[in-house]
Symmetry: C2
Subunit: 209 residues, 2 copies
DNA sequence: GCCGATATTGCGCAAGTGTCCAATAGCGCG
DNA sequence: CGCGCTATTGGACACTTGCGCAATATCGGC
């Protein structure tokens, strides 16, 4: 295998781990699979990462971190606070077999037994809530929303969409994307004291790859 | 090992699998661990179950099914609809390292790759939503609540508490049981158009073992 | 008490696991 | 050009995995 700089190789490992995790799940991502995906030997992975937990955590951080950044950009471009929240909701709803959200499910389950992964998923969940809280505060400031507890509101909305997305991804049949969008919208309207229907999304497929 | 009737042995296997899953997680429950837990040979497990997926699904069904039944009883005894919903919320909030809810996390994550487990978790999730919907309809009928969409309301409340409980269990530090109770109560009050504070729980530890 | 049904054993199989490490190969600096 | 640093190899190690199967033990019904 072509020799790489430490930094580039580390990235390559994370990319390969991600590709494997996407196919087999975070929990079932193994050294040998990652090595095979890169076309290198398995020893190389342990030259860069102490344990598999670290590899998996890094892979998860790559997806979830990128997703967070992209969503931040998306919300920045959305305009008024109501549009920001609408964009948030529709970008959160899983599309088909959403492998990125499946990785969240894997991470939450594995958090109990993988310290590095728990640290990453905890930190990123917090960042998502913070992003939402910021959006809510702006809406409160400019009079679009009313909320006496923006932090609590952020966690309530985030937890609701997590819980709904979980149903969509884990049991496709029971709750579908349309249900999720409609339900998340109506609950959020109530939470932020918006008139009913103001968050309705007209079925457009969101940018979440 | 003492010879048992088919029915009793099947139960014993499920019990043993449950004990293992509680310690190591659903995903990491192995034939040999279950056999060791029972003090029998590993071949015996495959005499009763086709695959490990079936064993794991049966074990999960035992916990989650029992929990559902107990909650059904609890709600039946709660009295008026508002008390029913209050009882529901406080019984749902995880206590400490809630292994039962951790099994739900495991099940949702594994659902993608274990058909039998997916079937069970889907079916039980549906049953929880149905139970909640029934409670809401009764409250609407007797004028305790107002809701134009009891089914949607049930899924919204269930998803919210799932999302919150998930945070409590996966990342103990970020959201705690008290936050969860307070946030679930306020969102549910809005959902069912109850006066603020009417669902507040006064910190009592719930019966969820 | 015997016998057939079946519960139970215990090992074999082929494959896979994370981690470690001596050996090797290749790039960049002098 | 040559040397040293280090990226990379590839296999060893000690396990574990799900599943299958012939052999054996033990029960209930006659």
């Amino acid at each position: 295998m072509a020799r790489m700089s430490a930094e580039r190789r580390r990235d390559a490992i994370v990319d390969a781990a991600l590709a494997v995790a996407r196919r087999k799940g975070l929990a079932a991502t193994t050294v040998r699979d990652v090595a095979a995906e890169m076309g290198s030997s398995s020893g190389l992975i342990h030259h860069y990462f102490e344990t598999m937990d670290d590899v998996v955590a890094a892979a998860f951080e790559r997806v979830a971190g990128d997703d967070l950044e992209q969503t931040e950009v998306l919300l920045d471009q959305a305009g008024d606070p109501t549009s920001v929240v609408r964009a948030f909701l529709s970008s959160y709803a899983p599309v088909g077999e959403d492998w990125a959200f499946q990785l969240w499910l894997d991470a939450w389950a594995e958090a109990a037994r993988r310290p590095a992964l728990r640290e990453v998923s905890g930190r990123l969940n917090l960042a998502w809530a913070a992003m939402l809280e910021r959006a809510i505060r702006e809406g409160v400031k400019d009079g679009s929303f009313r909320s006496e507890d923006p932090a609590g509101a952020a966690w309530r909305i985030l937890s609701l969409v997590d819980g709904l997305a979980l149903q969509v991804v884990a049991h496709q049949t029971i709750v579908d994307r349309a249900d999720m969008l409609a339900w998340a919208a109506s609950a959020t309207e109530r939470e932020l004291q918006l008139p009913p229907g103001s968050l309705a999304v007209n079925g457009a497929t969101p940018p979440r790859a």
